[in-house]
Amino acid sequence: MPSDSNSTSSNYSSGRDDENPNSDPNSKPEPQLEPEPEPEPEPEPNKNPHLIDQSLDALENQLASISMSSRSPTVTFEGEEEDDVESREQPKSMNGSFSEEIEAGGDADSLEVGRHFESDSKAESSGVNGENISFTWLDAPEVDEVERPLSPGSSGYAGEMGSTSGGDEIVDDDEDDSDIRGVENDGVLGSNNQSVSGKRHADEDDASVSWRKRKKHFFILSHSGKPIYSRYGDEYKLAGFSATLQAIISFVENGGDRVNLVRAGKHQVVFLVKGPIYLVCISCTEEPYESLKGQLELLYGQMILILTKSVNRCFEKNPKFDMTSLLGGTDAVFSSLIHSLSWNPATFLHAYSCLPLAYATRQAAASILQDVAGSGVLFALLMCKHKVISLVSAQKASLHPDDILLLSNFIMSSESFRTSESFSPICLPRYNPMAFLYAYVHYFDIDTYVVLLTTSSDAFYHLKDCRIRIEIVLSNSNVLSEVQRSLVDGGMRIEDLLVEPTSRAGAVSSHLGQPRPGAGTPGRTADGSIGIGGPAGLWHFVYRSIYLDQYVSSEFSPPINSLRQQKRLYRAYQRLYASMHEKAIGPHKTQFRRDENYVLLCWVTQDFELFAAFDPLADKALAIKVCNRVCQWVKDVENEIFLLGASPFSW
């Protein structure tokens, strides 16, 4: 596995390298990347016939800069500001061409951002050239986190390492395998191991039997049928297949209609048209149409996060525009997102989850984030893997849970962020799909990172200062060590659910309303002999607070041991969610569902949604009682498991 991850990492970086003339002598000239700032003097960008090319160049530069850092990996946290200053102090060439393109239809903010984008791309480019060293780490071998041991029960959906996946050659099971890897990856989200590697099975194409048997394909193509992304197989080899997909879409379109879904046996082909971008999923995973469509929306959102919706303009100018180069090297980002579609409830709940922390600890983090948010930071997020520790937004700005998901996926799957502080343009599709923001990203430790988002392209040093202030406060107040401890302790465990509410009274002060587990207890989830689930055959639950936009899910406990079982449960929740939220008539209020695998109970109110899984033989009356207890338990510990008072999506 490590060897594979090495190669994928270099895949990723080489994608970037292609964009960088310094690393590829044969690449086409990139004026903005030249050491001299004026190789392409364009004082009147609007009159420039090559405007679109420029925009594209700018986009490519953006991509190059995404993985770029301001310092080399050898430096430590402290005291490299000087270098950074040097590297950053490049003149900006403000020709604003892209911004003019972007701002149409945008608000003042986006206009601003658009301008910044252009200037920043120049700045970034200059930065690259000013400091070639910033690319050197990209080819460096993986840092040691690959080998890092798992923290047990570190996340709601992280399983134990126990069952390892089979080889990739097991075609029929590849979905399971990959998902398993995805989950494992969740356990070690820091380590960019195989699962979030770049392209898998790049040697395949639509003529390969193995390719045809993959359980879940994702394709992105342009409206002219040019492949942009394929989960499996090489995009170029799939040009013919891509053209077929395009033909289907446009054939139906020519008839004045739009194709959404084709069903064939166990297979579903789901289509999503987003302007000039077509997204297609071919799946036999039994997920409902609505879920698959939501997944394509996320995939599109991920693309927008990297490129902004302004990429549409490229197609307006040149319908045959080839977008693959723009996304070069981002395979890992998409792979990682696709994996999370099989284990992360955030992808269908449209809510985010928080790392469980004592209220005071989270408050400490929030107050320092709040401090910096006052000073030109639009959003400040402190994250641990895909979970939020705290987040703060400037007045009136709001952060959609999907944006948090896509942003954290982007950061965690891009190895570059991990190794050094970065300043990178990103777009939050739900916030403003037309414009770039600038993300300052810094990892405090292997799992914990801060993201500071701003509209200003030249805020790097300011944000760096902010980060230093945050870091000092976090270490002084022990937040980071509390975070590590929370990772070890894990979240809510069904075994700890007490059926009699009164018996809890004394324990409220301890970890999530239960006595803190001793040193040996993390093994409890790994030890199959201990558990048969919680009371009344409760196996697992997910609770989503509607007005907080957050969810909490219990740790996996026996008998939901294996990753396969976890994924099956995840899919069952997904179906239940789709069933409850049926568009025409939903949402329903209650649902009880019993099949050979589970009893599932779902309860939707104005305040929350509860999804609970029980033993298939569970008694209805008892199960209902236990659900009520779960809701009470969540309420009892809500200031530990949720971020209160943030209400990031309130206007």
Binding site: R212, G256, V262, A264, R593, A621
Partner: protein
């Protein structure tokens, strides 16, 4: 022609049948089309519908070779596919814009299945007809009149009313049975024995119906279903009444058709009829095929002797005596004479092998024998059955709106339609969606090939507070709406349990 303007005759449905073994060379594409409704659609449009269908069948075979395209869901249309025979496909394209256009794909597909299985019963395999005359004229004519006659059952005014959410407590393609007491059952049995003795040594089949309900039969399940479907459409007292009223209200009548050509003439005017008056596809006009239109409306009537008669199958060459109808049995592929005797609510259908009866003479003799030996018995049976029959609301269970399906036996029972209409649209739509979910669970179990049937229990409290319930147990299905359910899930579960105990012999009870 009596046609309204093109604009207000926008078709909400397209229905086509095509053969993938035909017209594979460029320029010959039209050859593929065996049937297209509406027939007056420009050929380019017809070809584009078939082109898309064929394209997607090919495309989906890449991933799903054993089960190619089943449905296309587009923004405005839904295309439902059904491969009726190898390489012969039917595709129904329905519009979604109408607020009534919420349906289960499986219910729409069952319409296609019904068309094909009825067609088979009267005309045999489509492939055989295609092979019989490779130009395609023969099969096209047969399909054209057959399907147009079939569709007329669905036409309400100018529109076709396909099964939609209002039919969510119905199961197409199933039999509805009459529950009979022990005494009546013995009577029916003795009637069957009596009829068999009338036929003599020949192997014969019978089917006894009361009103639109099946009482007893010795046919195979598939043949029972087909014959039952036909009887309910054309033979039962209700169907005859329907036909007669259509007959009397029709502006143009033509009862004096003693020839095959006459059989093609139109008896009443509806949107469908207008098509084949004005848009008869030319290949059909050119050839004068001997056509039988078993689904032609208002063609059956009850004779003085109690036997149902029709001239659909033409008449004897030198007389005015109608020829006896014939059908094909599905399993044995044996051709049978169909004799139907009716007394009030009772309809008895007798199938006798064509090979065993010497022409019309034999049929008349057989009829005579039945009248002499069995008519009294039939009177008695009818009396018994109607005494035990509780009327159209016989199977109503107050507080419940339900549908019970026994998939293995193709049998269903449901709340009477009049009671179902009291449900709100919201509840019916919600139930349709729930049934779609169950349909896909069933399909999944089928594809997983596990061999065992899926057992599932779903209980939903909808937004309007009604409870929707679906239970699958060992191939049996129960769907219910409890419109006035109380708050708790336990109440709903309890109500289901009671229903199962009282009306389903505990088939859906836990433990």
């Amino acid at each position: 022609m009596g046609l309204s303007s093109e604009n207000d005759r926008r078709e909400a449905m397209k229905l086509c049948m095509f053969d993938l073994r035909r017209g594979q060379t460029e320029g010959q594409e039209l050859d593929k089309i065996l049937f297209f409704y509406p027939a007056d659609l420009p050929l380019t449009t017809q070809l584009s519908v078939i082109g898309l269908s064929e394209g997607l069948i090919t495309f989906t075979r890449v991933f799903s070779p054993d089960a190619p395209c089943e449905v296309i869901e587009a923004e405005k249309h839904c295309h439902v596919f059904y491969e009726v025979e190898p390489d012969i496909w039917m595709v129904m394209v329905v519009e979604k814009e109408n607020p009534e256009a919420i349906w289960r794909v499986d219910a729409l597909r069952s319409v296609l299945k019904e068309i094909h299985s009825l067609f088979m019963m009267f005309h045999g395999y489509i492939r055989a007809l295609v092979d019989k005359e490779p130009s395609g004229g023969l099969v096209r004519s047969h399909l054209y009149y057959f399907i147009m006659d079939f569709l007329r059952d669905f036409s309400i005014g100018k529109n076709l009313q396909l099964p939609n959410f209002r039919d969510s407590l119905k199961e197409q393609g199933t039999l509805q049975m009459l529950t009979v007491g022990r005494e009546a059952a013995i009577e029916v049995q003795s009637l069957v024995t009596l009829l068999e003795s009338c036929v003599g040594n020949k192997q014969c089949y019978s089917m006894t119906m009361f009103q639109d309900l099946l009482v007893s039969t010795n046919l195979s399940p598939i043949d029972t279903l087909n014959l039952f479907t036909y009887a309910v459409r054309r033979l039962t007292p209700i169907a005859l009444f329907r036909g007669a009223s259509a007959w009397s209200s029709s502006r143009k009548t033509d009862t004096a058709c003693n020839t095959y050509a006459g059989a093609l003439q139109v008896t009443s005017v509806s949107a469908i009829d207008q098509y084949y008056n004005s848009h008869d596809p030319s290949p059909i006009r050119r050839h004068n095929y001997p056509l039988v239109r078993p689904l032609q409306h208002s063609k059956w009537s009850k004779g003085k002797d109690g036997f149902l008669t029709t001239d659909i199958w033409g008449t004897e060459v030198n007389s005015l005596v109608p020829m006896c109808p014939t059908i094909w049995l599905h399993l044995t592929e044996e051709k049978m004479f169909l004799l139907a005797y009716q007394h009030r609510g009772l309809t008895v259908i007798l199938l006798v092998p064509v090979s065993s009866v010497s022409g019309d003479q034999g049929i008349s003799m057989l009829k005579q024998q039945i009248i002499e030996n069995a008519s009294l018995k039939m009177l008695k049976v009818e009396e018994k059955l109607s005494r035990g029959w509780g009327g159209e609301n016989a199977y109503h269970v107050s507080g419940y709106r339900y549908l019970l399906v026994d998939g293995d036996r193709y049998v269903s029972r449901a709340s009477p339609p009049g009671k179902v209409t009291t449900l709100t649209k919201e509840s019916l739509v919600a139930l349709t969606k729930l049934r779609e979910e169950v349909d896909s669970e069933k399909a999944r179990a089928k594809w997983d090939n596990s061999g065992r049937e899926k057992d599932i229990e779903i209980c939903i409290r909808a937004k309007n507070n009604s409870w929707l319930i679906a239970r699958l147990v060992r191939g049996k299905e129960l769907y219910m709406v409890l419109p006035k359910g109380s708050e708790t899930l336990l109440f709903a579960a309890d109500a289901t349990e009671k229903f199962s105990e009282r009306y389903c012999n505990g088939a859906f009870s836990l433990d």
